[in-house]
């Protein structure tokens, strides 16, 4: 379970949260929704301890997030950031950086499920569209196969069909808690629970 408990945060000179609390149950699919600038991404970044609240606690599987538990908690988290313009040239290179060279079969399955063929594995990111790159990055990262998936704006560059395919892929993954942030209506409709920020 992921527990946001009485979170208060001023971030980059803005007052974002005051005693914010929410519980996310295991295997639940939750999406933070709301207009830009309200702190959806900031809330997501608290799960892998990329943002630390001024007060309150993030508790994951009963473990409070502090510097002693960071490694244990991050071991359970797959992080897919909003900015997919990672300075990496190909999916193959990304695979090596993530130590996933022995997971090419499962990556290929995910790439196919997202409507792309295996050739995208070696294509230069510079030569493919933003939507294709986003799908490839998501497919590769999901192969880390951790119990908590945190996705920031996973549909930002996707069309309707691709959003549908991504929803189906996420739903097909067993035993995963999925927390995302988005304001895409189609994604929100296909998510288990929407939390308005």
């Amino acid at each position: 379970m992921i527990k946001y408990k009485n979170i208060t945060l001023n971030y980059e000179r803005r007052h974002l949260f005051d005693s914010f609390s929410v519980d996310i149950m295991p295997n639940e699919q939750v999406c933070f929704a709301g207009p830009s600038g309200r702190g959806k991404t900031t809330l997501l970044k608290m799960i892998p301890a990329l943002v630390i609240p001024d007060s309150g606690e993030i508790i994951i599987d009963g473990m409070p997030m502090d510097s002693l538990n960071t490694k244990t908690i991050r071991r359970q988290i797959t992080w897919i950031p909003q900015n997919i313009n990672l300075s990496v040239d190909t999916a193959a290179e990304l695979c090596t950086l993530l130590h996933l060279d022995d997971k090419k079969e499962i990556i290929s399955t995910y790439i196919n499920k997202l409507g792309l063929d295996d050739s995208y594995f070696d294509k230069l990111f510079a030569d493919i569209s933003g939507g294709e790159k986003q799908r490839v990055v998501i497919a590769v990262t999901l192969a880390k196969d951790k119990p908590i998936i945190v996705m920031d704006e996973p549909t930002s560059a996707l069309d309707k069909k691709s959003i549908g395919l991504l929803s189906e892929l996420i739903a097909s993954l067993e035993g995963k808690t999925v927390v995302s942030a988005s304001h895409n209506q189609q994604w929100l409709e296909q998510t288990g629970r929407v939390i308005e920020i």
Binding site: L50, W79, P81, S87
Partner: protein
């Protein structure tokens, strides 16, 4: 061997006139280097003139304490200059850079002066000071290139760093691509220099030795040794600077600290 030709003061002053060509280029293309170049030329001339006087005495006394103090001062200046040139946070980097500077000079001097040349007196000013100086001078230049690439890479591609940090759950794996790039950029010029050494460049130390009356065979042996010392010293210094800096540039959650640069960047 013929006696080395001295350069009279007027000729040396005349030599400065050649600098008018690059300075004219800087002015034409509005490269903001004119002031820095002028300051560097004045500093170089003053510093070397003073060094000539100091070295006369240092070589004369040849004392372990004086020679060591001289090398310590060189390390302090190299560290200060590196931090300033890279516009880094002085408090954050002074300790890691000092440790890497002292360690690399200690390893290189102990190995080359004590083990390879087999000096009876390892602190002999004629060997200890110029070899430490050459290692430090090169280490400073290549450190600036390599560490700038590393720190700039981390700061400007922090999304990639955090992506790798969380997904690999390991800071070492997350910083690895940035360290690789820093080392590659820092050491590549040195590899290129060694590759063409003797073909399109005659190194300064060897030239100096030959002009000073040594036989080319001895000068070349020393040049090979000094290149090995420089390459090893630069690499050790750069690697240690990265390793020790990493202890200071991340917080307890392995997040990149915001004050790596001194704010003037």
């Amino acid at each position: 061997m013929k006696e080395i030709m001295d350069i009279d003061l007027l000729s040396l002053l005349l030599a400065f006139s050649i600098m008018l060509i690059p300075i004219a280029g800087f002015i034409y293309y509005r490269v903001p280097l004119v002031k820095d170049t002028a300051i560097a030329l004045v500093r170089m001339s003053l510093q070397l003139s003073l060094v000539a006087v100091y070295l006369e005495y240092i070589f004369k006394f040849n004392s372990i304490w004086l020679n060591t103090l001289w090398v310590v001062v060189m390390i302090l200046i190299a560290v200060y200059t590196s931090i300033n040139r890279m516009r880094l946070n002085f408090r954050m980097f002074v300790i890691p850079f000092l440790i890497s500077g002292f360690t690399s000079v200690f390893i290189i001097d102990a190995f080359f002066l004590g083990y390879i040349i087999k000096l009876d007196y390892i602190f002999d000013a004629r060997y200890f000071i110029p070899i430490s100086g050459m290692v430090l001078g090169n280490a400073m230049n290549h450190n600036i290139v390599g560490l700038t690439a590393y720190f700039d890479g981390l700061v400007s591609n922090r999304e990639l760093y955090y992506y790798l940090l969380v997904n690999n759950n390991n800071r070492t794996a997350a910083t690895a691509p940035f360290i690789r790039e820093g080392l590659r950029r820092g050491l590549n010029p040195l590899v290129a220099t060694m590759t063409v050494m003797g073909l399109i460049s005659l190194p300064g130390m060897m030239t100096g030795q030959i002009l000073g009356g040594s036989s080319p065979a001895v000068a070349i042996k020393y040049q090979i040794m000094i290149m090995l010392a420089i390459f090893a010293g630069v690499s050790i210094n750069l690697l240690l600077s990265v390793v020790f800096s990493n202890r200071f540039i991340f917080d307890s959650y392995d997040r990149l600290r915001k004050n790596i640069f001194n704010g003037k960047k």
